[in-house]
């Protein structure tokens, strides 16, 4: 964008000013403009201005970390829509899901999207971990980011697990019954752990509200915070780059 050609029409000039105040640098016609755009844009600032060619080759990251994050965003947005219809009560939850499937416009697609994206995220996060391992990308100075990654993997699993109960159908309740039964086996603390998880001895209203709160607030917040730190460290340490 050059500042030389000032339009005469005041309305056009004002629109130009509005546009220019939001998008400061125009299209990336040269490396210099591109670099300035990346530097001054909040969302682009998560990236360094320049990256090693070897680090952004698709064959290096396979996009898996980025895709995991993208799926997290898809899940947040589709989950938000689901929350408009879903009431975490054993009397209503199942009917809410039925309504989503058969009454609410696009409810079915949004529910499907949320479900399949959740499965996909477990897979992409696990594969991301595998690629980081095989490339030895956890070696110094990135040891601690691997640890944060491990916590992210656990958070992802718990997010998926807590969501599993919410439809309140046979699949949900029994999967959670089997899942939480495993916790029972820990010595001494086991039975208490299960009781705390379920808010009772069986999977009932107590468990539903606990899983709901964990699923829509606590775990996404924890996951988001861990991701922020994870990305910050990737940004500061740089990509490991080609072998």
């Amino acid at each position: 964008m050059s500042a030389t050609e000032t339009p005469t029409n005041p309305l056009v000039r004002m629109m130009g000013q509005v546009w220019g105040s939001i998008f400061r640098h125009g299209l990336p016609t040269s490396d210099k403009v591109a670099a300035r755009t990346a530097l001054t844009n909040f969302f682009l600032h998560i990236h360094p201005v320049r990256v090693k060619k070897s680090a952004i080759r698709v064959s290096y990251t396979l996009c898996l970390g980025g895709l995991s994050f993208f799926l997290f965003i898809v899940l947040t947005i589709s989950g938000l829509f689901l929350m408009f219809y879903y009431i975490p009560s054993v009397d209503q939850a199942y009917q809410n899901i039925k309504d989503l499937q058969f009454v609410a416009t696009f409810g079915l697609v949004i529910r499907n999207l949320h479900r399949w994206a959740a499965h996909a995220m477990v897979i992409t996060v696990w594969l991301h971990m595998a690629r980081v391992f095989y490339q030895g990308a956890y070696k110094p100075p990135r040891e601690f980011n691997w640890t944060i990654g491990t916590l992210l993997l656990l958070t992802t699993l718990l997010l998926s697990f807590s969501g599993y109960l919410l439809p309140w159908d046979q699949l949900a309740v029994w999967a959670i019954t089997v899942g939480t039964n495993m916790a029972k086996y820990a010595p001494i603390a086991g039975p208490y752990t299960r009781y705390i998880m379920l808010g009772g001895r069986n999977v009932g209203q107590g468990a539903l509200i606990r899983f709901y709160v964990l699923h829509v607030i606590a775990l996404p917040l924890i996951g988001f915070l861990l991701m922020v730190v994870h990305f910050w460290r990737v940004r500061k340490d740089g990509f490991t780059g080609g072998l």
Partner: protein, 200 residues
């Protein structure tokens, strides 16, 4: 031409935190910074890593990387949308604690645990193994002292992880496709037992 890499927006040189690197290309260093006049450049903090530009070619993030990210996001979103339009998420009968489905299975990513519970005493399968795996994962970078990242130099690490990965995937596949009533092995389950309704 030799050039100094580091401080270039987080692309730290291999094996060092970028905070410790310096960008001191000679033309930009004011003469005053070269120490007391006449003493020469000895007092200048030497660059920690000097590499050839050809080895570490960089590109501008925007649009080169952003465009790829956009394509990757678009691709997976399109794929998920397609799946979501044609395949419905499961919804069985309303929860009924009086009717236990047979088999009752954990979500697929926990089927490995369920598989272990089938084979080992609960204290091993439910507590010892998971604790071992999680602690092992967290400690991996601190236990693996081998500085090389080349697969040829990391035979033990690669073998161990591959063993874990193959077992983990195998357990999930077995749990989903081959475990039938009471979680017993069933080769035919994967074919769906024609004529029998498996749902509760």
């Amino acid at each position: 031409m030799a050039t100094v890499i580091g401080g270039n927006g987080g692309n730290g040189p291999e094996g060092r935190p970028p905070a410790r690197t310096r960008t001191l290309p000679p033309p930009q260093v004011p003469s005053g910074a070269r120490g007391v006049a006449g003493t020469g450049p000895e007092l200048v903090t030497p660059p920690l890593v000097v590499r050839r530009r050809e080895e570490e070619e960089t590109v501008v993030t925007f649009p080169a990387l952003i465009f790829r990210e956009f394509l990757a996001g678009l691709g997976i979103f399109a794929l998920l949308m397609l799946i979501s339009i044609f395949v419905n998420a499961p919804l069985l009968q309303r929860a009924n604690t009086a009717i236990t489905p047979n088999p009752a299975k954990a979500p697929w990513y926990f089927l490995g645990l369920q598989e272990l519970l089938q084979r080992f005493p609960p204290i091993m399968a439910g507590v010892a193994f998971p604790t071992f795996v999680i602690t092992g994962m967290i400690l991996t970078p601190y236990l693996d002292k081998n500085p090389s990242r080349r697969p040829q130099d990391r035979k033990v690490a690669v073998t161990l992880f591959t063993l874990y990965a193959v077992l983990a995937v195998a357990f999930v596949v077995v749990g989903v496709f081959f475990r039938a009533e009471a979680f017993t092995w069933d080769w035919l389950k994967v074919l769906g037992h024609p004529g029998v309704n498996p749902e509760v």
